[in-house]
């Protein structure tokens, strides 16, 4: 069982295989785990499709279904995954293209309140929002 931390959350991938620095994820689980969708054109996300550089090395077949070496793909993208502890937790670096910080639109997020109810910033469109970050420490 491998946990992948994305900028917006975390997913558990049951049939992921860790071999040293390599992380193989079944294609069927890929989009849910990483946000990347596999297609014959390569890996796609938002409006962007990235052809696989060396499909024979990045894809393999196990027990009748295919897996992608996601760690190698991330290295190819120039944003290597962080491999935590004994390889059971991996952390994904946010893609530079998706950063909205340089623009004027307030980046959206979803977080829980003290009672666990989830709120999105975007659900408050139509109101002015005074957004304050603070900490108990």
């Amino acid at each position: 069982m491998v946990t992948i931390l994305t900028p917006n959350g975390e997913t558990r991938v049951e049939n992921a295989v860790v071999e040293g620095e390599e992380l193989w994820i079944p294609l069927a689980a890929l989009e849910n785990a990483t946000g990347w969708e596999w297609s014959e054109d390569g890996l796609c996300r938002d409006q962007l499709c990235v052809p696989l550089p060396a499909p024979d090395e990045l894809l393999r077949e196990e027990h009748g279904s295919r897996s992608l070496n996601y760690a190698a793909f991330a290295r190819h993208r120039g944003e290597p995954l962080l491999r935590g502890a004994n390889g059971d937790v991996w952390s994904q670096v946010e893609r530079g293209e998706s950063s909205a910080a340089a623009g004027l639109q307030a980046p959206d997020f979803e977080l829980p309140d003290v009672d666990g109810h989830r709120h999105r910033l975007s659900q408050y469109r139509g109101s002015k929002v005074f957004l304050v970050t603070w900490a108990s420490w």
Binding site: A102, L121, K128, L131, V132, S136
Partner: protein, 207 residues
Amino acid sequence: MTVACDSAGAEAAAPWIRRASPTHPSLIDRRHRVAELYNQVNVPTAVWIDEDGRIVRPPEPPGTFDGFRRMDRQSFKLPEDVRQEYSRRNRVYADALRDWAHRGEASEFALAAAQVEERQPAASPEARRAAACFRLGEYLAENGRFEEGAPWLEEAIRLRPESWNFFRQKLALGQPEAAGGPEFWRRVDELGQQAYYPPVRMPGLDG
């Protein structure tokens, strides 16, 4: 809307939230996602967002300033002139906020697009990598694996030394009071003449 950058979660933030009896959403952000999205390095930090989801004031201290550095570190007392300056600055900032609430884009405090762009903090590959390191360290700490997580928190601090959030959160995860303890003060003293909080570029405050 308040967002608690608190890796210890609701347990740490709830007592403060309950004391305030807020009528606004009070959210919990264990992995400091909002600080990453808005390129923030310290708390408290405020952003003003209009009805269309556009930023009209990018991240800035909500009036606060470096007065706390003159606090007596034994008694935690502030000199009277500092206390008055905090009151004054909070009043100026709150008045500006109210002016915007009533007058919208006609308020002088709502900035034009060019001014917002100029004041926006820059994103960077180091900051993105630091945030991913922080998430990993925080996940491990949150799941009872602080010793495995600590090196990742330290790497986040190394990649983003300007982030007081990372530095103080790591201290707090080790021991809650540590974020305001000797290690914190040592790092503050190392600033010398440099500011802890940036100037608040608003008439009546820092220009």
